[in-house]
């Protein structure tokens, strides 16, 4: 068939059409071989998207095979719209984290909003009701005007979407680092709950079944988003990419969500798939491919926002708030009635066939015809050519002049964007709708959500310090997992499953390839050793601005089981006169720390973690938290033990501590003891005998002091610091004013 009559993507004509759409010459030749002719415009547009990095994972798929994906509690693993784990009593919790980095760097409000919208759809596509959103954001330094523009937009967009749809945003993290200046990161995670038996898979099935498109009408927004934005580096011409960013409508999504859950409850759908990157093309192709069937779609039956859209535009549009259902012919009317009740669109646009082909029709006339295997599985997978860089490839800017006292260092660290309270952001989010939020933003080390369905609760944490992965991709990636596991331990949660979002630079460059390859190795090792299955995730590559790659950022989302939410400890001291302990095998070092960053002395290398010892201490802390004997629990992370102690005092109860025993472990380096970082450390408060009792299992426990007073006083050998809580608090709470300045 000829492509000319069907319309083609608008191209400048300067280079071959396939190159302009992001396909290499070799890939184009391969397409011609697979379909035994040259593709027409519709087909080429479809291939260019499904064979993009964003959809095909062509530079990461081979590496991801190293991740452990199986576990007793896994209900759904990678390959579905989201992963899911068993939480008991016949219920499952579904979750996934996904990036929306490049759209957010171009238009932060809509980019972040539709990032939330997309991840919500992934979760309710399984039949799970979304119960929480968490987000992980990265920007340039706080003082940058661009940072404040992006931050304001992204936080506003997340709030706009989540608040309006009635799903609470219960946690998250924000880091400010120079390498994200051009290329910010917006990763959103959604958690949902479903009866395990009611969950539905994405695979199409049943020859002759109807293909029903539900939700919003299809427009020209977001055309080519997956290939143009998500799979190439950002450059100065980004203004021109604004039309490829989608516009979100949370009200539409709210109706589609309720509609889909009602359809599934009534047993009216064979399968359900959301429309995300690459729109109808990806949704229909992946659904049919997973089911081993074929699919016919008639673009003339797709409800359009603009009447004159070409077939290729309809097939690749990334208009938001759309879902694709496979429906038995006898149930189509009932499906459309439920859609009408929720005042959302529905149209029967095609049929499941036994052809193994994806046929695109317009008013019954074929305009495209592709073997599904070629489209979905034909994309070549590339081996990376990693090479470790000889030295630190990022810059170093110094913000400390030198000669500061420990008091001054503490205040400087507490006020840094990475450590300071993120209240400015999280107060813009509804964190309580749904009545499940036992521990919300900054209320504990992990968010805790009640599950009245089972009488238990889940804890959720999202974390990933890119700077430390940059220093050492292997150790840094392990640390990101351990940080989440430690966060969960603090609220008494046992990890059930993990999702990850791997945000990296251009994998075709050796140093970035090495970061990706090495970090995935670390991630795999940590998950393997700790017995945590990876049930889903997302890879975002080509995160580079004009100044080079971002910090390699492996964001980890972890979900765990909490038997009794009533006793989950908070993370600030509860009462005066209680003992304070440093628990776990932490050996803090200044390498890669916030203090070293502020001194402009970052370089390669991090201390390696003793995974077994960390796991053992996590188990001890988890059991103590579960038994209700801890008054507070937090892990030692950014800014080291001194910042952890100061943050624990933010509830108004101070501490007097002598960390000489930790100093011994650090070889007598007082600064490393106070401000050094590393994994495997907890700060716990509670009755003295309870804390000493933790040591019985071979876990390292150092009783270092007592709660009380209005100051944070820490002695570390010859060095010491003493800061009033009010002063520490005003440093820690300074971020909002600096953003609004």
């Amino acid at each position: 068939m000829s492509g000319s009559a069907q319309g083609s993507p608008a191209l400048t004509g300067d280079v071959s059409p396939h190159r302009e759409l992001g396909l290499t010459d070799d890939e184009y030749t391969r397409i011609c071989d697979l379909i035994e002719r040259e593709p027409n415009g519709v087909e080429l547009a479809m291939f260019s998207l499904l064979w993009s990095e964003h959809c095909a994972y062509k530079h990461s798929r081979k590496l991801l095979r190293r991740l452990p994906t199986e576990g007793e509690r896994v209900v759904m693993g990678p390959g579905e719209n989201a992963g899911a784990v068993d939480v008991g009593d016949g219920y499952a919790v579904a979750f996934k984290v996904e990036s929306h980095n490049h759209p957010s760097a171009v238009e932060p409000f809509q980019g972040a909003a539709t990032g939330v919208g997309g991840i919500l759809r992934d979760v309710f596509a399984l039949g799970a009701r979304p119960i929480a959103v968490l987000d992980s954001l990265r920007f340039g330094e706080v003082e940058s005007e661009r940072t404040r523009f992006l931050l304001e937009g992204a936080v506003g967009g997340i709030g706009h979407y989540g608040n309006s749809i009635g799903v609470p945003t219960v946690g998250g993290e924000i880091y400010f680092e120079e390498p994200y200046e051009q290329n910010c990161l917006v990763n959103a995670m959604c958690v949902g709950i479903a009866k395990a038996d009611d969950m539905v898979r994405a695979a199409a099935a049943g020859i002759g079944n109807a293909v029903v498109l539900m939700g919003a009408a299809t427009g020209r927004d977001g055309i080519g988003g997956a290939s143009v934005l998500a799979s190439a580096e950002l450059d100065s011409a980004d203004e021109g990419k604004r039309p490829t960013v989608q516009i979100g409508d949370p009200f539409e999504e709210s109706k589609v969500l309720e509609c889909c859950l009602e359809l599934l409850k009534k047993g009216l759908l064979v399968s359900l798939q959301d429309l995300g990157a690459a729109g109808l093309t990806s949704s229909a192709a992946e659904s049919a491919s997973a089911g081993g069937v074929g699919i016919d779609v008639d673009v003339a039956k797709v409800p359009l926002r603009e009447a004159d859209m070409e077939p290729f535009e309809i097939m690749v549009s990334e208009s938001q708030e759309r879902m694709l259902g496979i429906v038995e012919p006898g149930k189509v009317t009932a499906v459309r009635e439920v859609c009408a009740k929720w005042q959302t669109g529905s149209a029967e646009i095609g049929v499941v066939t036994d052809s193994g082909r994806f046929r695109i029709l317009r008013d019954g006339e074929p305009v495209g015809d592709i073997p599904l295997e070629a489209l979905v599985d034909g994309c070549p997978l590339y081996d990376l050519e990693p090479a470790a860089p000889a030295d630190w490839i990022y810059g170093n800017s110094k913000t400390l002049g030198g000669g500061e006292s420990p008091d001054e260092l503490l205040l400087s660290l507490l006020s840094s964007g990475n450590i300071a309270s993120k209240r400015w952001a999280f107060e813009q989010y509804d964190s309580i709708v749904g009545s499940r939020t036992v521990r919300g933003p900054e209320g504990a080390e992990a968010a805790v959500l009640a599950l009245p369905e089972t009488g238990r609760a889940i804890a959720v944490s999202i974390d990933g310090n890119g700077r430390r992965v940059a220093c050492d991709p292997h150790a840094g990636a392990i640390e990101a997992v351990l940080e989440c596991v430690q966060n969960l331990a603090c609220v008494g949660a046992e990890p059930l499953g993990l999702t990850n979002c791997l945000n990296f630079g251009n994998p075709e460059r050796p140093a970035q390839a090495w970061q990706l390859d090495t970090a995935i190795g670390g991630l795999a090792e940590a998950c393997e050793k700790l017995g945590i299955p990876v049930v889903g995730g997302n890879v975002s590559l080509y995160n580079e601005g004009g100044d080079g790659p971002i910090y390699p950022t492996s964001v980890i989302g972890l979900v765990g089981d909490v038997p009794d939410p009533e006793v989950a400890p908070g993370n600030t001291f509860e009462a005066a006169g209680e003992a304070i302990a440093i628990v776990g095998p932490i050996r803090p070092e200044l390498a890669g720390s916030e203090l070293t960053k502020q001194r402009g002395e970052l370089g390669m290398g991090l201390p390696a973690a003793d995974l077994d010892a960390v796991a053992e201490s996590c188990l001890a802390v988890r059991e103590a938290a579960r038994s209700g004997v801890l008054s507070s629990a937090r892990d030692i992370s950014d800014g080291g033990a001194a910042c952890a102690l100061a943050e624990a005092a933010m509830g108004g109860i101070g501490a007097t501590v002598d960390i000489a025993p930790l100093l011994e472990r650090c070889g007598g380096n007082a600064e490393a003891t106070l401000f050094g970082e590393g994994c495997g450390g907890f700060i716990l408060s509670g009755p003295h005998e309870t804390l000493t009792g933790l040591a019985s299992g071979g876990v390292e426990v150092l009783i270092v002091g007592e709660t009380g007073g209005q100051r944070v006083e820490i002695a570390a050998g010859e060095a010491s610091l003493s800061v009033p809580i009010t002063e520490a608090a005003s440093a820690w709470r300074s971020l909002g004013a600096r953003i609004d300045a």
Partner: protein, 221 residues
């Protein structure tokens, strides 16, 4: 036992939470926005959220829904109606309550636990709450700044229609006279921006909101 109806519009967010709170003080069911029949219901909650997307102005579309027409009639006959957040906005748009709710002074959406001070206003929802009593209840809204022109405001104060104020220094939205909630003249319709339905369980917050739901049970009994 009080039989509660909780309105559900497309775009409602807190209707299930309100349903749960009501069920702690009686029996409760959802009322779909196209329903007109409120027979058998003793009290109505117009819940929080973004009814019909709130695109025109918060609450401006919902007031025309069949269910709201029925609620207006129900309220006119003395039936107890509680409007929370978006529900308060809807009741103001409907003319069932005086005043209007403008965008927060700080422009942004704000979610935060605040203290409310009861004024001792006469309302079926406030019988269990003493004048001067403090309630810890969360707010979460972007358009919660209560406003009434000076003359109307004087009238409201004179007639005891100001029901709840934000505690000194805690006004999250810049509302006039720190007003968080108002009642109609008859006392059977109460609207407030804070969310008492999110303050009914010590596990997820305070329990200070329960009094508003239980007050009615006491009145009925």
């Amino acid at each position: 036992m009080t039989s509660w109806g909780v309105l559900q519009f497309p775009g409602s967010c807190d209707e299930r939470d309100a349903l749960h709170a009501c069920s702690l003080a009686g029996e409760a069911r959802l009322v779909w926005h196209e329903e007109r029949d409120l027979n058998g219901l003793d009290a109505i909650v117009v819940p929080g959220g973004f009814s019909y997307g709130d695109y025109l102005r918060a609450g401006a579309i919902a007031r025309f829904s069949p269910a709201m027409e029925a609620v207006a009639e129900f309220a006119g006959g003395g039936g107890p109606v509680l409007g929370i957040c978006n529900g308060f906005q809807v009741l103001c748009e409907s003319g069932l309550l005086p005043g209007a709710l403008l965008q927060n002074e700080g422009i942004r959406f704000l979610c935060r636990q605040v203290d409310l001070v009861a004024t001792g206003a006469d309302s079926v929802f406030l019988h269990d709450i003493e004048e001067g009593e403090t309630l810890s209840v969360p707010v979460k809204h972007q358009s919660g700044r209560f406003y009434a022109p000076p003359e109307q405001l004087d009238e409201l104060r004179e007639r005891g229609q100001v029901a709840l104020r934000y505690a000194p220094g805690q006004n999250p939205n810049g509302s006039v006279d720190d007003i968080a909630g108002v009642v109609n003249e008859a006392g059977n319709v109460l609207g407030l921006m804070p969310h008492p339905e999110h303050a009914v369980d010590s596990l997820t917050g305070s329990t200070d909101g329960l009094a508003l739901f239980r007050s009615l049970a006491g009145v009925a009994a």
